[in-house]
Every structure is written in C-alpha cells, then in structure tokens.
Amino acid sequence: MSTPAATTVTYEDIGDTLRRIVISGRLDNIGTTEMAAGLAEAVAEPKRGVIVDLTGVAFLASVGIGQLIATAQEIKGRGGFMVLLAMGSSSVMTSLKMASIDTLIPVFDNPSLAYSSALRGF
C-alpha cells in the first residue's frame, strides 16, 4: 500500500461569475483537514456560481461531505450557488448517494451541465 498524496485544492475562474474548484486526493478525516484551508480560500471571493470538481477525489467520507455542505451553505447564504461534479460510477458518487446529499446539493457527471446549472442557480 503506497501512501496517498496530500489532498489539494486548486481553482480557476471561468469568466467573472463562475469558479471551478478542483479537489484531489482522499477526503477522509486527514484529507479533509488538509484541504479545509484551501477550500475556504477558494470560496472567499464571492462568485455567483461555484463548481466543486470531485473527479480527482479517490475517497469521500462523511467528514468531507460535511465540509461540502458547510461550503454550499456559505455560498448560498451570500446569494451564490454551488454544484458538485463527480463521475457517474465512482466511489465519490457512491458516498454522495449513501449520505443522500445528492438531494441537497446538485450533482452532475457532465461538466457542461454542471456549468450551466451553477450559473442558473438551480
């Protein structure tokens, strides 16, 4: 068993109103702690739409889902909208469904649909 790389957060802006945040690594307790500051920095600047790209996440536990919920609430609280991007048959999608979070935060496996939903706000 090799040691997983540290969990990281990067982001890019798509125009003035949309930000894509990319999380990579394992979102267990260790990984969620590693990425918390980076995620907070990535959402500090208000954007109308935020896509959190989880396609590079190898494992998502409830502690990581909790961080995503808190982030979505923060963004919504200032009038923005957050969606998740995850591969259709992936461990991340399994976690989101088992935690029933796909009913609270929109989840897409298609980047184009994720972008348009994040901008529309539904």
Partner: protein, 146 residues
C-alpha cells in the same frame, strides 16, 4: 469460505486511513466488485470515525481489530467486515438518529456517518467488553470482475 483477512490498528485517523487502504486492497485481491468495495470502505471509515470520536479512552488505548471474509451466499457472493473495539458500548443499529434534512438549509455538516453505517450493517453484539459490529455487501456471482 475464504481465509479471513485481518488487520489490527489503534484508534486514530492515520490508522483509520491505513485500515481503509488495506480493506480496498484485500477486497481487490478477493475480486470484490468495485461498487461493493466503495461501500465497504466508506462504512469502515465511518465505523472507525465513530470509535475514534465517541469510544473514549478505552477505545484509544486498546487495539481495534478489523476482519474481512468473502463467502458464497444463496448463490451469490458476500463480503463481511467485522470491527471489534474496546470502547464504550455502542450499537449503531439502535442508536437514535436525526431525520434526514429536507433542504440544504436544514442540513448539519456532521452526523451522517450513522446513516451510512446502518445501510451496510448486518449485526452488532457486545461481548467480552468489546463492541463487535459486522457490515457487508453482496453481489451476483457473475458480476463484473476486477
């Protein structure tokens, strides 16, 4: 029945990650389909997180045992994972659980682990001063192989 695969850890986050990676590797070795591997690894993570957070000093000072078995069941195959810890008695199958939130505004960023554990759990017993929780997943014999 396959020879049980087992690992012993201490109750902390680094060891929980080690156990999760071990379970994923052991499941792959036993040709457990990826969807079931994902469910089992998530359940294990949540069970260990509960032990670390709520098990108390006894849980942290005594080893935690994790055992995996894969066996035929009713023409299908089933994987069973048993976690044994010396922490405070806790039955996740009967513990009170908050109703699921109806909206993002209602959602709390914690407390989801119990619901995940219940979806996989097969049984709980308290024996010899330890919790023994078994959870599992099953699949068709002819499901895709890794």
């Amino acid at each position: 029945m396959s020879r049980p695969h087992a690992i012993t850890i201490v109750a902390d986050s680094h060891e929980a990650r080690r156990a999760s990676l071990w379970l994923e590797a052991a499941c792959r070795e036993l040709a457990v389909p990826q969807e079931q591997v994902d469910r089992l690894a998530l359940c294990l993570e949540e069970v260990l997180a509960n032990i670390i957070t709520h098990g108390g000093e006894a849980a942290r000072s005594e080893p935690v045992h994790v055992q995996l078995e894969v066996e035929p069941r009713d023409g299908d195959r089933a994987a069973r994972v048993t976690v044994s810890d010396a922490g405070a008695a806790f039955d996740p199958l009967s513990a009170p659980m908050a109703p699921p939130p109806k909206s993002l505004a209602e959602a709390l960023p914690r407390g989801m682990g119990l619901g995940i554990i219940r979806q996989c759990s097969l049984g709980y017993r308290r024996q010899g001063g330890r919790n023994h929780l078994t959870f599992g997943a099953s699949w068709k014999e002819n499901a895709h192989r890794l």
